[in-house]
């Protein structure tokens, strides 16, 4: 393709819009990782459930899109908390602490992923469902003469910024946020300080799942909603989380945006046929030169 700055600009804008969605899902993965020290392999399914909840709230209940977004976040957060309380906590208790080391949690996460996909398949079927939402309240932006950014992309960018700002405020400027950070830092000391650690872990799970749901509802009008949508998003979000630095919340967003831009530019100027490779190529490059990720902290373990 012939190079021109307008196209480059367009690809970067589109990369950023999809990248912030990767970032939001990665944020959830990082939150759970910081809270429980586990990688949650069923997080893609929380994103998928969120998208379906949003779809049902808009199409069946008739809620306006912004309310459906909030509703889907709340419902998915409750679902995530229920899963954590019912399944994951048993594992942590069995280990005698608040976190689980080893394969138990990984296997449980994979199992939960398969179970949730099948539950969704049972409820909604395998067919893709169009997510028709009235987004007329959002302007369609035009850049550099002919680069049009549709309403759904503009909304994605706006909502993502709001969510990130809200999360930042919650974690940095509220007492509960402080408690969450304390739990993420050291659960035993947090417990000794009087913090209800299990409750905070549930809250972290709920927050993370709510963020995944927001990403699902945001992506729905762009790509339709289907049962298998979670897997690829999870992979991209993992890439984003690792690129940004696993466990780093700002890193997750920056990683997501980088993955989005990198894959869009790769698709545009190298080959669109292998678009999904670019995210993992970036991941490999980052791991080669900065294994802890861009904003990750290099931890040295004493022998």
């Amino acid at each position: 393709m012939a190079f021109d700055f307008n196209s480059l600009f367009a690809f970067i804008i589109f990369g950023v819009t999809i990248g912030v969605v990767y970032g939001i899902v990665a944020l959830g993965i990082s939150l759970i990782y910081s809270g429980l020290d586990i990688v949650h392999f069923a997080h893609g399914e929380m994103y998928m459930f969120g998208a379906f909840f949003g779809l049902v709230l808009v199409h069946n209940i008739g809620l306006p899109y912004p309310l459906a977004l909030i509703g889907a976040m709340v419902l998915t957060a409750l679902l995530g908390m229920a899963i954590e309380r019912t399944f994951y906590r048993r594992l942590t208790r069995a280990g005698g602490g608040y976190t689980v080391a080893g394969m138990g949690m990984i296997i449980c996460g994979f199992g939960m992923s398969v179970a949730l996909v099948n539950v969704a398949y049972f409820i909604w079927g395998a067919e893709a469902e169009p997510f028709r939402a009235n987004l007329n309240f959002i302007p369609r932006l035009t850049f550099a003469g002919d680069i049009e950014v549709p309403e759904s992309y503009v909304l994605t960018a706006i909502i993502s910024v709001i969510l990130m700002a809200a999360l930042h405020y919650f974690l940095r400027h509220t007492k509960m946020g402080l408690a969450v950070r304390a739990v993420a830092h050291n659960k035993d000391i947090a417990y000794l300080m009087g913090i209800n650690v299990p409750l905070m872990i549930s809250l972290i799970f709920g927050l993370a799942c709510g963020l995944g749901a927001a990403a699902g509802v945001l992506i729905g009008p762009m790509q339709s909603v289907q049962v298998e949508m979670g897997y690829l998003m999870l992979m991209k979000a993992f890439a984003a989380a690792v690129v940004g630095g696993f466990g780093s919340l700002p890193g997750a967003i920056i990683g997501g945006i980088m993955v989005g831009i990198f894959e869009n530019l790769g698709a545009a100027y190298i080959s669109a046929s292998h678009k999904d490779i670019y995210a993992f190529l970036l991941l490999i490059l980052v791991l080669m030169f900065k294994p802890s990720g861009l904003l990750g902290i290099e931890a040295k373990v004493k022998a």
Binding site: S7, P130, R132, D146, M222, Q223, N264, A268, A272
Partner: protein, 398 residues
């Protein structure tokens, strides 16, 4: 004692073997493997079973009942091949029907060719399916090589020759892209203005659409499975590509999820298929009503019509086959009977005929494609018939 044991075991084995043979003796076993993951897929699978049940209730085939086994391959080649192996070697079917997706049918052709089992293809369009040289394969739908010719003629003469191609990686779409590209070059001497090979379930076409927009093309071919195509159509409008740039669909544009998911973006999309719900023939109207009342499908696409025609052709062939009770001989007799089906006129856009040679000319039964356009998208989509074209049997072959 040992002798007694051996005798008892031998007698038991013989009884089981005889019992199984007796159970099979009066049945004609038919195995079906198709994609049945969507509401439509489940409905046309059920429709085939209902039609077979109808044949049995009407007395069967020369007094023999058809025992059909329906399996879902989910459009996955590994599942399709596993289903085919199970049906051929365990169920010992006389006839195999499958599959919906070309990427599944292509490897199954090798299974049936090796085992010597006649195979009727209900939906797959990839032209290579009948070019493998198997003497056991028969295709009910229109081959992609004919679709390519019909599309190229209409596109070149009515829309323009500057065409962008978006080609998904599934076998049918790869074939549809290659056929149109080949025919556009042969007829009008043009190469694609832009070509992107995307993944089978691609979700994000924005980079392509942005590039296509800057090229001022006459049309965009979107060759992909239904849901992927619908997403591409929607995103083409989101990128600001106007309706004056015509959208050309591959044969899967006929599938109901395209207008359902694409909504308004489906309006104006045209494609070649084997059947149009807008067909005004009495047989088509009756069929539409039957599908709507029985299965609640608003407008049956060519996957339904082809499944229905397949059952009717199977019925004709089975009635004409001289079945003896020997599995190998019966399979051969059924194959020969299918090859003798000539000028079957059912729901398909044209007559379906087969012949004995293991060539695409003989085994691509339907050579008539109908060009269909969407006049309305959404759940209650509407279509119109633009043209009906019958191709020469050699068309599209080297």
């Amino acid at each position: 004692m040992r002798l007694l044991n051996k005798t008892l075991v031998g007698a038991f084995t013989a009884c089981v073997g005889f019992g199984a043979a007796a159970a099979y003796a009066d049945d004609i076993r038919v195995g079906i493997t198709m994609r049945m993951v969507s509401e439509n897929g489940q409905a046309y699978g059920q429709m085939m079973m209902d039609e077979i049940k109808g044949i049995n209730e009407a007395g069967g085939i020369n007094g023999m009942m058809i025992k059909a086994t329906l399996m879902n391959d989910e459009c996955k080649s590994d599942k399709g091949v596993a289903n085919a192996n199970k049906l051929v070697f365990q169920e010992k079917v006389h006839l195999l029907i499958g599959s919906s997706c070309s990427s599944v049918t292509l490897p199954i052709v090798d299974v049936t060719a090796k085992a010597g089992v006649p195979q009727l293809v209900p939906h797959s369009t990839n032209s290579k399916i009948t070019q493998k040289g198997s003497e056991w394969i028969f295709r009910i739908p229109v081959s992609g090589r004919y679709y390519g010719g019909v599309n190229a003629k209409y596109v070149g003469e009515n829309i323009g020759t500057k065409i962008a191609y978006i080609c998904a990686a599934d076998a049918a779409s790869v074939g549809d892209c290659a056929n149109l590209e080949k025919q556009m070059k042969a007829r009008f001497g043009v190469e694609p203005a832009y070509r992107a090979d995307v993944q089978e379930k691609e979700v994000d076409f924005r980079a392509h659409m942005q590039k296509i927009k800057s090229m001022n093309v006459d049309g965009i071919l979107v060759a992909a499975l239904a849901e992927t195509m619908a997403r591409a159509l929607v995103q083409s409008y989101e990128a600001g590509i106007g309706a004056d740039v015509r959208r050309i669909g591959s044969s899967s544009a006929s599938n109901a999820p395209v207008p359902k998911i694409a909504g308004d973006a489906a309006k104006g999309v045209f494609f070649a298929a084997a059947y149009a719900a807008a067909d005004q023939r009495p047989i088509a109207k009756l069929f539409n009503e039957m599908v709507k009342s029985r299965y609640g499908i608003h407008a049956p696409d060519h996957d339904f019509s082809q499944a229905y025609d397949l059952v009717r052709i199977m019925e004709i062939a089975l009635k004409n086959a001289n079945l003896t009770g020997s599995l190998a001989d019966d399979r051969t007799a059924i194959r020969d009977a299918i090859a003798n089906v000539k000028g079957y006129q059912g729901l398909a856009s044209g007559p379906i005929s087969f012949c004995a040679d293991a060539t695409p000319q003989c085994r691509d039964g339907n050579r008539t494609a109908v060009l269909i356009g969407y006049t309305k998208g959404g759940e209650d989509f509407e279509t119109e018939v633009i043209a009906r074209v019958t191709m020469e049997e050699d068309f599209g072959l080297e």
